[in-house]
Amino acid sequence: MLKKTFIRAIEYWLPSADGSLLEFGGGLFGEAKRFEAATVELCFGQGEGLPGQAWECGHPVLLKSLEAPAFRRAAAAKAAGLTCAIALPVFVAERLCTVVVMFCGDDSEHAGAMELWHNHPEDGPDMKLLDGNYGTTGDTFEFISRSTSFRLGTGLPGRTWESQAPVFMPDLGRGSGFLRSESAVKVGINRGFALPCGATDNQVYVLALLSALATPFARAVDVWQPDAQRTQLVHSLGFSADQDDTTRTGETPQLLDSSVGQVFATGVPFLQGERLLIPVAMHQHITAVLALAL
């Protein structure tokens, strides 16, 4: 039996030909068919809806309540059990390439948390929690997260900030370097995944997804990063919830003319069968390609 995933749906939006709108590009919706139907015909202007807000703000936007008027597809989201979303804009040299939106729910089958961490260099060296959605995990973990700040290279957010690429911590309870592990394990969170986010304001944003063994954040995750010569993309991380939660690396490198290479080169997501290839950006350039299957 397939495990339910913490991310329930994921979609991406692309700038229209004249650059005035965001048009639906594709996505993975799992069981949220009605939500998908309510999505495909939509488009958003700058500042409109969640994707449009992320475009206008130039940084990730976390929406903890998918209700009208802030969220246009409120009824469909409610029907699909979606309660929280984060919009991740991807910029390359000031140009918007895409806005990726991830959705999760907070019912009893969704043990997990979604956190947006932030550093403003002018405010100091600390990466602090900008906002977070903690669903059914209770307030213990949320409280300690809101009290904690990380430095470059420390903890899940700090390591992601330093590496500028996705970081996976498969077992938070085993001295993995996850500094809130005791509080996390207590509320059922035992694995963490974080990725740097694109922004135009020269500030640093990191999205951290924390999930339970029973509800992995995605069915499968793969990450490719460019090699030193930037001639090919090396498989740096692979994880499958359907194959005994094993992690794997060392798959065949992807050349730049492959699907993975094209996502890296263009910053435009690509739907490849049951998985979505997403560009991961920081400081306005693509640092990795993330593949998610729900």
Binding site: G124, I144, S147, T148, R151, G175, F178, L179, E182, S183
Partner: protein, 278 residues
């Protein structure tokens, strides 16, 4: 006082401390950025050798950084000064002087001569004695004022050290494991007294400690340092517990327990890292 002076009363910018050794340069601290607000109580915590005391010595001006700079009240820290008083684990009292005389020595040095930087005139002996007695009263040592260090307990000696520091009206109180050598009961009593003194004096305090409970009980901010060499600040925990704090009530406080666990978590994680590396 402008906002910058309030929020960045102590401002440590890009500090690195490398020592010359026979085996070559030894980098004790790297990339230290830290601000301490006026009236804030900050604890530095981490494993032995993580550079906590090195950082405190830099703030005290006892050593100078090999890179970066430190400011206190918008002035560069270029050496020791009465604006930054230090309380050491070893109380460093002069054994041939009484408690009163130990405190008076510092008071006379600071206030017995005209202050060139503030323009304050020198104080007369009556004023200096008043200051000394007030400091001893602050730490509850009036009855022991005429005793010598050899005639009082370890806790009382440490109180004299605190009185000596506070008597100089420092802008910043720097404490290097001040209660580390005391038994648990005396340590708890002195921690409670320190809480009351800081509440009264609104002192800005930076304290080095190994004691998790001490850090959570006393601090507004706990700075957790990574293992050395080349140690740096790893995580900062903001302790948002209401003041005044009562240790008995806090023992059952949900948030206190969570803060405590977070610090233990950090130290445990770091310790396991050390074991793996070893």
């Amino acid at each position: 006082m402008n906002a910058n002076q309030t929020t960045k009363f102590i401002d440590i910018v890009g500090v690195e401390q490398t020592f010359k050794t026979k085996k070559g340069p030894f980098c004790a601290l790297r990339d230290i950025h830290l601000t301490v607000a006026k009236g804030e109580f900050v604890a530095l915590i981490g494993h032995s050798g993580c550079g906590k005391s090195t950082l405190l010595n830099l703030i005290a001006g006892l050593t100078t950084p090999t890179q970066g700079h430190l400011l206190c009240d918008n002035r560069e820290i270029a050496g020791p000064g009465p604006d930054r008083a230090v309380v050491f684990q070893n109380h460093s009292l002069l054994p041939w002087l009484t408690c009163f005389e130990n405190v008076y020595l510092g008071v006379e040095r600071v206030f017995g001569a005209a202050n060139k930087s503030t323009g304050a005139p020198s104080e007369n002996k009556v004023q200096l004695v008043e200051r000394t007695n007030a400091a001893l009263a602050l730490v509850g040592l009036t009855p022991a004022a005429q005793k010598r260090p050899g005639e009082i307990s370890g806790g009382m000696k440490q109180r004299v050290g605190i009185a000596r520091a506070l008597a100089m009206e420092p802008k910043v109180l720097l404490m290097d494991e001040p209660f580390g050598a005391l038994d648990a009961l005396t340590r708890a009593k002195l921690q409670d007294e320190l809480l009351e003194i800081v509440a009264r004096t609104h002192s800005t305090v930076v304290m080095v400690t190994h004691d998790v409970d001490e850090a959570v009980l006393l601090s507004d901010k706990i700075v957790m340092m990574t293992n050395g060499p080349s140690a740096t600040i790893g995580e900062v925990l903001s302790v948002k517990l209401e003041r005044p704090r009562n240790r008995v009530r806090l023992a059952e406080d949900r948030h206190y327990v969570q803060y405590r666990k977070a610090v233990i978590d950090f130290l445990y994680t770091r310790q396991s890292h050390v074991e793996k590396a070893a």
